[in-house]
């Protein structure tokens, strides 16, 4: 009995030592990989920041209206955002590689699944961001054009454009992630179709006079005198 207990304890001790002996080098390797990753991520982020500053990306971003969107979302400048993103993507990548070296069963599969899913997440985020920038830019262009042309309720046009682009971007992002594809497609078709039908009905029934005037203007039969301004030059 006593011998059996001692043998059991010895076996447990040997197993523990064996496990530690097996785990410790892997752990050290993981720590090394994470530290190397930190260094690599820092260098990559720093280099990207320098290159983007040299290429004046922030000016381009300002011109495209992207910087304003970032400011609205309380995010840093485009250069800073990309540099920080590359830092974190690189480092998280190294951390995951390091964890996979530990050889913990089950975790490896989850990590590889995450790796497989990462590009899709990245693309979906990119689609959302571009959609946001495009919606902002085009809605502002529509607002300015409507105001300067003297069109009534210019914000309706501006918001309609913003809304349509958002819906489109969100649908595309969800489609990219593969989440409820059929539902997203059906929802998009319903929302978009309903909006267009609603506009058509509103314009055709509610705005018969407006439709007639628009057609008259289009066909050149308008009896109303065109608004003239003094010659600017």
């Amino acid at each position: 009995m006593r011998v059996t207990i001692v043998q059991g304890l010895e076996q447990a001790y040997y197993n523990l030592v064996h496990m530690v002996a097996e785990f410790l080098p892997r752990f050290v390797v993981m720590v090394v990989i994470i530290l190397v990753g930190l260094l690599a991520a820092y260098l990559l982020g720093h280099m990207l920041r320098a290159v983007l500053r040299l290429t004046k990306l922030d000016r381009v971003s300002e011109d495209a209206g992207a910087s304003r969107v970032l400011r609205m979302a309380d995010l840093p400048s485009m250069t800073e955002l990309l540099s920080r993103s590359i830092f974190w993507i690189t480092w998280v990548g190294f951390i995951l590689i390091g964890i996979s070296v530990l050889g913990v069963a089950g975790l490896q599969e989850q990590i590889s699944r995450l790796f497989r899913f990462l590009p899709e997440v990245f693309i979906a985020m990119l689609i959302l961001f571009l959609g946001l920038v495009l919606a902002n830019f085009l809605s502002r262009a529509a607002l300015l054009a409507s105001v300067n042309a003297g069109i009534r309720s210019p914000k309706i046009w501006s918001w309609s454009i913003r809304f349509v682009i958002w819906i489109l971007a969100i649908s595309m992002a969800l489609e990219e992630l593969g989440l409820a594809r059929q539902t997203v497609l059906a929802a998009f078709s319903i929302v978009f179709g309903a909006s267009m039908l609603g506009l058509a009905i509103a314009f055709g029934l509610g705005g018969q006079d407006l439709a007639r005037r628009a057609l008259e203007r289009y066909l050149g039969n308008s009896t109303k005198e065109k608004y003239k301004e003094p010659q600017p030059l």
């Binding site: 300002e62 011109d63 502002r140 300015l144 300067n148 301004e229 003094p230 030059l233």
Partner: protein, 430 residues
């Protein structure tokens, strides 16, 4: 030196057959072939009467109608003694006619580049650029433009016109006073359809390789050329041409497009020549040939109520955009006057100038997309013009001049404010 690869083979062939000339007249247009033919006829008449002994060439640079115009353009190839001559004088030399078409998207900038390259290859001593519409007004215009550049060694010759007191209000309230205050020379018509220049200035501009794709140069090359002359301390002058004819169809050009081209171009020029304008103080007159510009005051019907409504609506709807462009104090002032009744509405010179300088600084710092920024100015310009029309509907020409001078001095007075706003942003950005 002209970039010969930029010119088409056909144009090079024509230029080589001409050889060298003393004077070159470029007709810039996207007009119909008939308009071009008529313009060429008037230009030729002017040259035959006024430059009898000089070797001259006319180059027609036209986007849409080049082929059409060209088919008939060469046929009357400037024979001396054409029936055009009314003074009994005729050119002793052949007047050459050249046609240049576009390969790419036509633009005034591309057309000017073609004229500059041709002028360089033909070794022209002076060159005038005219539009088909205004060159038909009087044959004397072309000669009057060319004379100072050819005989008096001026490098840039700007036109002066006689106008109705309510025409050219953008030039009167914004372009002239702002350009004068910042670049220090009193040239009234930098944004015009006709101007002349020396071979020296032509070569300087032609050697600018990087600017030809810029929208400001593509749409308003004359302003860029004028400012280049001013900032390089070239000799500039003005010459009185006469009454500026109205646009061909009787309607004015689209205001938004005009502002995008002219104000956008001016703001871009401020950025590209910032060293030059920041160092200058005050302003000096430039030599003027003929009378100074004249103002006429016949009654004119303008829908002022609609203009005021568009101003008020613009301030209300574009509030968030204007807040990004203007300082809080200026924005509050604009909002304040937008709530006034029509009969009490005034847009003071001080507020107008402050607002424009803040627009210019915000353009420089790209606070929002630059094209959007210029478009956001349109309702405010309408407000200023409404106030101007209301205030000076009964004013005489002398009163109008006094008001213009006061505005110019206000622009000069507030110039340090623009410099400050301009530099503050630079420091923050860097």
């Amino acid at each position: 030196m002209a970039d010969e690869t930029f010119l088409s083979d056909d144009l090079l062939r024509q230029l080589m057959s001409v050889g060298e000339v003393d004077l070159l007249v470029g007709i810039l247009s996207h007009s119909s072939a008939n308009t071009m033919r008529r313009a060429a006829h008037y230009v030729e008449k002017s040259l035959q009467q006024n430059f009898v002994r000089q070797r001259v060439a006319i180059i027609s640079v036209d986007g849409g109608a080049a082929e059409d115009a060209g088919s008939d353009y060469h046929s009357g190839d400037g024979q001396p003694g054409d029936s055009l001559n009314s003074k009994g004088l005729s050119s002793l030399r052949t007047i050459h006619r050249i046609t240049a078409g576009f390969n790419g998207t036509p633009s005034l900038g591309l057309a000017l580049r073609t004229i500059l390259s041709s002028s360089d290859l033909l070794r022209a001593k002076a060159c005038a650029v005219v539009s088909p519409v205004t060159s038909s007004a009087s044959p004397e215009w072309v000669a009057n433009l060319l004379r100072p550049a050819f005989r008096d060694n001026f490098d840039f010759v700007a036109p002066l016109y006689s106008r109705h007191k309510f025409q050219g209000l953008l030039a009167r309230n914004l372009l002239y006073p702002m350009t004068r205050a910042l670049f220090g020379r009193r040239i009234r018509e930098l944004y015009s359809d006709e101007w002349a220049f020396s071979s020296r200035l032509g070569t300087l501009c032609l050697n600018e390789e990087d600017v030809w794709r810029e929208e400001a140069v593509r749409s308003r090359p004359e302003a860029w050329m004028g400012i280049s002359a001013l900032t390089s301390d070239f000799r500039c002058c003005q010459v009185y041409l006469g009454e500026k004819p109205p646009p061909p169809d009787g309607a004015g050009p689209d205001l938004v497009e005009v502002l995008r081209q002219t104000v956008g171009s001016l703001f871009w020029l401020l950025e590209t020549h910032q060293q030059a304008w920041m160092e200058r103080k005050g302003s000096e007159p430039v030599p003027t040939f003929g009378p100074d510009h004249a103002v006429t005051a016949e009654p004119m019907e303008i829908n002022r109520a609609r203009m005021f409504e568009m101003f008020q609506n613009g301030v209300k709807e574009l509030g968030p955009i204007l807040q990004l462009i203007l300082s809080p104090e200026t924005f509050a002032s604009i909002q304040g006057i937008a709530t006034l009744e029509q009969q009490f509405f005034r847009f003071g010179s001080e507020l107008w100038v402050t607002m424009l300088y803040e627009f210019a600084a915000s353009y420089h710092h790209s606070v929002i997309n630059r094209d959007h920024l210029v478009q956001a100015l349109v309702p405010l310009y309408r407000g200023k013009i409404y106030a101007f029309l209301a205030e000076f509907s009964e004013a005489s020409a002398a009163d109008m001049e006094a008001v213009s001078e006061h505005l110019c001095l206000e622009f000069e007075r507030q110039k340090p404010y623009l410099t400050e706003k301009w530099k503050v942003g630079v420091e923050v950005k860097s």
